[in-house]
């Protein structure tokens, strides 16, 4: 029997990568770090005629802090976020989220773009990125478009990207004055585990202690990671000292219908949404 194999492409520019992919059929894919795709490939869960590795595109590996915000190249490994001294200091929520994924060797392989495009409900980078109003920057090789990350996820495992397009960057604007942000999650084990429930939160508070804007983002409790708008609305316009935590947590909990799976029951997940939302808000208020 002929062993299974595929064509392997190694473009060195985004334009070449898009052009190659545009000419390929449905059974082809981009290969980033491979921590998910190579596992599926080895287990025979997926088969491709062509894989387009984007690991030789150096322009996709940069992490840059510019005037408008942070530009994370899609191929920046999670360990680059974990150990980025400046990021750790000014946006510790992102280096923390990155540092808690998988293991140190996996974080050297896995990339921020891969974590986003894989679109797992439990992806640990996504809640914090949504809470920071991050945007996906997508190129077709000649033009780019951007999409708020909160609107980028179509369904479990599916993002808003067309054939011939590639995620080049995750852009995170500098948080406005008065904004604090945090992420908490629940796992069974400290390493090599994925979140059972994750909650990222952010609030913007003015000088009078009034909440001007709020983000509550729930991970691992719905097919697509998203914001709990009903909970956020209970916070906006209120003095943080007067937050009705019980109501806010109830609203967060009611905004999704978690499932029972190998990691937890739906009842446990619902309960943990309340618990983590309360902890997140308390931490934000006391920051």
């Amino acid at each position: 029997m002929k062993p299974y194999t595929f064509n392997y492409h190694t473009p060195e520019t985004v334009t070449d990568a898009c052009n190659i992919m545009a000419g390929l059929g449905e059974d082809s894919a981009f290969l980033a770090g491979g921590t998910d795709l190579v596992v599926k490939l080895k287990k025979g869960l997926v088969r491709f005629s062509d894989l387009v590795s984007i690991s030789k595109i150096d322009e996709l590996k940069k992490i840059e802090r510019k005037e408008d915000g942070w530009h994370f190249g899609a191929m920046a490994p999670l360990s680059a976020l974990e150990f980025h001294a400046e990021l750790k200091e000014v946006l510790p929520v992102l280096s923390y989220a990155a540092s808690e994924i998988g293991s140190s060797t996996l974080r050297n392989l896995a990339t921020i773009g891969g974590n986003v495009c894989n679109a797992a409900p439990s992806a640990d980078m996504i809640p914090a990125l949504i809470a920071l109003d991050a945007k996906a920057i997508i190129s077709n090789g000649s033009t780019t478009r951007e999409k708020l990350l909160a609107d980028f996820f179509v369904s479990k495992g599916q993002v808003d990207i067309n054939r011939g397009e590639i995620l080049t960057e995750i852009f995170v604007p500098h948080p406005a004055e008065g904004v604090s942000v945090t992420y908490m999650f629940q796992t069974h084990r400290l390493a090599m585990d994925v979140a059972t429930v994750g909650v990222a939160g952010a609030i913007k508070v003015d000088n009078d202690g009034v909440c001007q804007d709020a983000w509550i983002v729930l991970g691992a409790v719905s097919p697509v990671i998203g914001r709990a708008k009903a909970a956020e609305e209970l916070m906006i316009g209120k003095k943080v000292a007067d937050f009705q935590l019980e109501q806010i947590c109830e609203a967060a909990r009611n905004s999704v219908k978690p499932i029972t799976d190998v990691r937890a029951t739906k009842e446990y997940r619902s309960e943990m949404i309340s618990v983590l939302t309360e902890r997140v808000i308390k931490k934000l208020v006391n920051q």
Partner: protein, 158 residues
């Protein structure tokens, strides 16, 4: 289709032909006959296949062989100089950090990468960074001790 790749393997320039579906661990073990690198789970859960690529530890079971073209790969075989053990290997021996030995090459390569980035890690950092390397004989305390003491030994060498 086979790809010609050129890379440095334990400081020696090599050229091989490899099918794109072949994982680096299989390339190392089957083609290069370097069986010091162990494969256990085969899907990135256990760390036993860890090797250094350009000085950084990676799971060689999830890295395609073709991806190391132009890079420098270091395996456990590259550490000792003749009979003289590398300080991390020495520390593992002295601390009794080896039981069945199957996880040891991966542990040592992860430790080498960790110490290259941070020559003076706390035990907590060692635990966090080594958490993806599983030992089923459960000798973690001695492994942590070995990595911690080898940090001191490496500094003395310098």
């Amino acid at each position: 289709m086979s790809h010609e790749i050129n890379f440095k393997l334990n400081d020696e320039q090599v050229k091989v032909f490899v099918e794109p579906q072949k994982a680096l661990v299989d390339l190392l073990r089957d083609e290069m006959e370097l069986t010091g690198t162990k494969e256990s789970c085969g899907d990135g859960q256990c760390g036993s296949c860890t090797v250094l690529i350009d000085g950084v530890p990676f799971n060689s079971c999830l890295t395609l062989g073709v991806a190391v073209d132009g890079k420098s790969v270091e395996t456990i075989e590259g550490l000792a100089q003749g009979e003289k053990l590398h300080p991390i290997q020495q520390a593992f021996a002295e601390n009794g950090a080896v039981q069945c030995g199957y996880c040891t090459p991966g542990m040592i390569m992860t430790a080498k990468g960790l110490l290259a980035r941070n020559p003076d890690p706390s035990k907590d950092e060692i635990r966090h960074q080594m958490a993806g390397n599983l030992c089923r004989c459960t000798g973690y305390e001695k492994i942590i001790d070995a990595v911690h003491s080898s940090a001191g030994m490496l500094k003395e060498v310098k």
